[in-house]
Structure formats: structure tokens, C-alpha cells
Amino acid sequence: MKLSWWKILSILLIFYTLFAGFLFKVPALPILHETIRNLYFHVTMWFSMIIILFVSLWHSIKYLSNFKMEHDIVANQAANVGMLFGFIGVTTGAIWAKYTWGAWWVNDAKLNGAAITLLFYLAYQILRGALDEEQKRARIAAIYNIFSYVMLIVFLMVLPRMTDSLHPGNGGNPGFGGYDLDNTMKLVFYPAIIGWTLLGVWMMQLGVRYQKLLRKKWNN
């Protein structure tokens, strides 16, 4: 079997992340110590989630413009993978918070925003499950999905920056961009984002192909 180039690229980039992420030198910072390496694993989950959920949004808009069921399937599967990455992001974030901030969860704008965002996407799946008629479900889900992404931007990007926050990159708190002066972390961080995102797209594609086969089977 021939594997698509982007699937191979995804595997290579993630293997690179696993090796370089543990072996490359990182800035020595108090409190963080070696946990700064979580940048390659925890933060990339969120970046990938935002990109994959954008794919979902894009296909929802496409669906509303031409009403092809294909777009509805892609939007749904992309939202699934995005949510998986989001839950992994919350879990890993909680572990990181426990050993740096001292608590699994703190009442922080960024953390609560992330939780609310995931609830929005959970509601998207529940909404889909509640509607039986295919066209109607696709249309309502597409509109709701657009609304969800707007809420994601508000809760993950806008609100945390308007208040004080412990989370790096928010409320006057510098992100890791301010720390990695030698740029070695960027050398791992950016490939890691691309690698994890491509892996997510791969998982999404498998879901889409499965759903299409299922549809074909039921239509025959």
C-alpha cells in the first residue's frame, strides 16, 4: 500500500518531536524545570485542535453554500478529532498545572474558557445525535458549528487576554515565545504543531471514509 506523503510526513515529524523534544537543550527556568518540554506536547494539542476545528468550521460553511452531505461528514469528523485533542489538552494541562502551579485546576480565565469551549463542542455532538433527519441535522449542526467556533475564539483567545491569568501568553503574562531566546525550542515546537495536526487530519480522514462507506451501504 502506498501511504500519502503527508501521512509519512506526519509520522516523521512526530518521531522528530519525540526525539528532539526530549534530547534538545531547553532554557533552565525556575518552577518549570524540565516540564518546559510540555510545550511540545501539551501546547501543540491546542494548536492542532484550533486548526482542525477550523477545518470543521470551513466545511460547515461549505455545506451551507452547496448542501453536499460530504461537507457535513467532514465537519462532523473534524469536530470529533478536535474534541479528542481538546480533552487531551485539558488533561495534560491539569497534570502540568499540578506540578507547577500546585493545583489540578485553578479558577483561571484560560482554563475555564477551555472547559467551556469543550462543552460547546460536546453540545454539538449531542445536537447531532438528537436530530434524525439527515438534511435537517446537517443544516442545524453546520449553523451551530459556526457559532461554536466564534465562541472558541472568544473563550480561548479574547477573554483570557482581558483579565489576569496564570497561563502563559495571557493577561500580561509572557508566552513561551519570550523565553526561548536561542530559538532551539521553536525548532521543535513548529514541526510538532504540523506533525500533530497532520496526524489529526489522518484520523479525521479515516473517520470520513468510514462514514462515507456506511452511507453508501445504507443507500444501496
Binding site: F22, L23, F24, K25, A28, E34, L206, L213
Partner: protein
């Protein structure tokens, strides 16, 4: 790309990473890092374990991909 080529790329990437990691020296700052772990070389064990875990996930994905491709072929015929 054939499997052998991919394997070759892996070996090259891993070898280059290994070489660059060897050149690293521990920092002289007072912040405690896992310097001992790196000096003893045992961090490689962790990296290898994680690489094996991820290899398993990738093999699973590739097998699933194959199975779906086969089903797609069958359903078009």
C-alpha cells in the same frame, strides 16, 4: 515511498539527533534540571519507550487505513 526508504530516513534522522544531543553540555545555572538523567544517558531509554508506544499507534492507524482502503475498493466494484 517504499518502506525501506522511510526506514532509512528514520535511521538518518535518529543518528543526527543522537549526534547533536551528544554535543550538548549541561547548563551552569542554579536552576535544577534533569542534568543527572541526561548525563547518565538513561533519558534515551524513555525516548525509546515513547517511540515504541507511538510506533504502535502508527501501525494501528496504517492497518486501519489499509482495511478501509480495501473496503472502498470492494464497494466500488
Amino acid at each position: 515511498m517504499s518502506f525501506k526508504k522511510i526506514l532509512l530516513v528514520f535511521v538518518v534522522v535518529f543518528a543526527s539527533l543522537f549526534a547533536s544531543a551528544q554535543q550538548m553540555t549541561s547548563s551552569s545555572t542554579s536552576v535544577e534540571m534533569a542534568d543527572g538523567l541526561y548525563q547518565s544517558g538513561k533519558i534515551y531509554i524513555v525516548v525509546i519507550v515513547i517511540a515504541i508506544v507511538f510506533s504502535g499507534i502508527v501501525l494501528y492507524l496504517i492497518r486501519l487505513d489499509k482495511k478501509i482502503s480495501k473496503l472502498e475498493k470492494e464497494s466500488t466494484n
